[in-house]
């Protein structure tokens, strides 16, 4: 096991380094903005005194490296700064006190996680079952229809899927609500019902990809001698595939599932906007539109971290599912 744990340790370290570099990229990109935050907050009618005050308050008179270190230190202690919108609200209208970016992001992040989990719970079993069926009935009418259908659903934009589902399931046949109005203290079933349409849309997008990869991974193995042996023993095709091919195809399947989960966390932006789902993607787009830099920066970092983490998980799981690495000679 020493071999595997050292490989995994290396991967974890590599992931951490990647995350650090990504944070530098994001920080530098944000600092490419002309002028600085102070002018952005105050807008057109900024007086020099006001600008210099805000600059001092936010520490913008410090050199770039010091500011980066401060930002990084803030992230480590859970302090992501305060959004411009909240600052404005506080100074101009005497608003709600100190609402940091972290307080804005956390509830929304948990909403997005909920959506991703619901989607995964529907999509993963569905995709693996359909993939096995497509491999079992390969080159039949079912396989052709599945091929055309999955290819179409992979290549359609998410909002097309979303609006078609809204049209058929919310407007023409009012089965599910078309707006995901989610708030604190809802019961679980109600919440599930409200987030069903966005989850179904995401399911359509990710199932197709996972199903194609499952089918390809299984078909790849069907030419192996041990599959032929199993067939010659007189096993039923279903049993050959489920008992003999599927366990050996697990590594690529797990990999593609993890990659699609990474897509679920990061690719939800458009779907959340369509259904007005109060997730982190919606917050991100809103902040992009009003150029609320601290929020954009923080969301970007969270998305990148989730993406890197899930890719890392995929990597580690595929190492763990490889018997040659688990039991070295």
């Amino acid at each position: 096991m020493g071999n595997v744990s050292s490989i995994i340790f290396q991967r974890l370290l590599l992931g951490l380094v990647t995350l650090l570099i990504v944070s530098i990229v994001i920080f530098v990109a944000v600092n490419l903005l002309p002028g600085d935050f102070a002018e952005l907050i105050l807008g057109q009618g900024a007086t020099p005194e006001a600008v210099s005050t805000i600059r001092r308050d936010l520490g913008l008179d410090q050199p770039l490296i010091v500011r980066y270190m401060q930002w990084l230190g803030g992230i480590a202690t859970g302090d992501l700064g305060t959004s411009f919108a909240q600052l404005n609200f506080k100074t101009n209208l005497g608003g709600a006190g100190d609402v940091g970016v972290i307080d804005q992001i956390l509830p929304r992040l948990s909403n997005t996680m909920f959506l991703a989990l619901v989607t995964a719970a529907i999509a993963v079993p569905l995709a693996v079952t359909l993939g096995v069926l497509a491999a079992l009935f390969r080159n039949t009418v079912f396989d052709r229809v599945a091929n055309v259908a999955t290819l179409s659903s992979i290549s359609s934009p998410e909002f097309f899927m979303a609006y078609v589902l809204i049209l058929f399931l919310a407007v023409l046949n009012p089965i599910l609500p078309s707006l995901s109005n989610i708030f604190e203290g809802m019961s679980f079933t109600e919440r599930l019902e409200k987030s069903m349409l966005p989850a179904l849309t995401l399911t359509l997008v990710v199932t197709a990809h996972m199903m194609r990869m499952t089918r390809a991974a299984i078909i790849n193995l069907l030419a192996s001698p041990y599959i032929e042996m199993a067939r010659l023993k007189g096993m039923s095709p279903m049993r050959v595939i489920v008992k003999h091919a599927l366990p050996n195809a697990l590594a690529p399947i797990i990999n593609v599932i993890a990659l699609n989960l990474a897509y679920l966390v990061t690719g939800v932006v458009v779907v959340e906007v369509v259904f007005v789902y109060p997730g982190i993607g919606q917050l991100f787009v809103d902040s992009v539109k009003i150029r609320d830099i601290p929020v954009v920066q923080a969301c970007c970092l969270i998305f990148a971290a989730a993406y890197i983490l899930l890719n890392l998980t995929a990597d580690i799981l595929s190492i763990l599912s490889n018997p040659r690495l688990r039991h070295p000679k």
Partner: protein, 454 residues
Amino acid sequence: MSTIVWIVGALVVIAAGGYVFRLLGQMLTGNAPKYRDMSFGVAFGYVLAVALVIGTVWFYLQPTVVEVNGQQTAVASVTFFRWAVQAVILGSVAAYWFKFVGKNFGPEASRKAFRTMPLTASFGILIIGVYTFVAIFAGQIAVTTIIGLAIGFMVILAASRNRLNKDSHAGIGFLLFAILVICSVMYFVGPLAPYGQEEILGAANILPGGNTATGGDPAYPLGTDSIGRDILSRLIYGAQNTVGIAFVTTVLAFAIGVTLGFLAATLGGWLDQLLSRAVDVLMAIPSLIFALLLMTIASVWAPRLGIPLTYFMVLIIAVIDSTRVFRLSRAVASNIVVMDYIEAAKLRGEGLGYLIFKEILPNATAPLLAEFGLRFCFVFLTIAALSFLGVGIQPPLSDWGTMVKDLAPFINFAQFAPLAAVTPLLAAGAIALLTVAVNFVVDWMLHKSSGLKE
């Protein structure tokens, strides 16, 4: 809840039907091998397919208007279902005839390609052709463009005379001549779009359909939007803007990615390390998120520099997507540079330019071409998503993503006015149709080149 009960009930009935179907087959054919060895799954599949066909036909034949309490009420779902079925049938028939024409006319090489391609691929080629035609002739084509094309084609023909054999030279000449004829005809026919894309016409919010009794106007077949621009014209111009910008972006991404990828593979050393690590970092950030971050910054810069935001968007997406192209072209090229013929060329003393353009590029064309198709789809979808979120292609240019965003609320009226709900779906469907078409063609190309038979 009752919906789930209905679905489960239907599945149970179909399962029973499958069992009976297999049993009947075995009894009636005297246990023929086909029925004797049929697994239950296959029998279930047959009955399910028959049930689906019957269900489709039955639902298609439902009346679109029913009388409830003495009032005529439209059943919108039947209307939409009919449109969807008609679109699928029309697409299949068009693809069939296109394949038929391609199979029987033209040079032998293209006839052979058409003979072996599946219906989906011929559908894809047909759609790509239609989109190109609409994109090019959306506005009035200028005389100078036609003359420029004629001169350019002449130069191409003269330059390629000695390099190609006689038949393919004649074939290319005929193709270029046909393009010139089409351009000239379209010059006299005029623009495809009835109005300009920015033109604000008299009345706003005219419903589609052109029926004055239901709030339409025959002058605007698809109606007008909330500030009185003709939706049909904007859809047609959308082909030019959305597809054109996506195409330019993809070409740019390929120019950057392939150049750097080939250089990294041929030169190796620290350049390769530097570029590969930089690409690793850029690829660790999800592309749509990174594009949104950079667009935020660009949207501050754009007005200060006086450069339209759309240029920034093209550049940003090209750079982000070139990382993926870099990965592929580096992988392909590093498989080629270890070949003996590269060694021979190096020993002959050929320069870097000769190696890249004459030795590596011709051998890397097939995978790069397939990647171009896929990359175009991704770029196209990213641009559509950005525009849909409101930070992509900016007005007054019309584009499909923005149109979907602006017209989306009309979907909620589908129950009472099916026509009103059609326009946002048309714009979204236009995006989906093109990406589906390109994917069909790429899928066929990959399948053909991989030689997979299973």
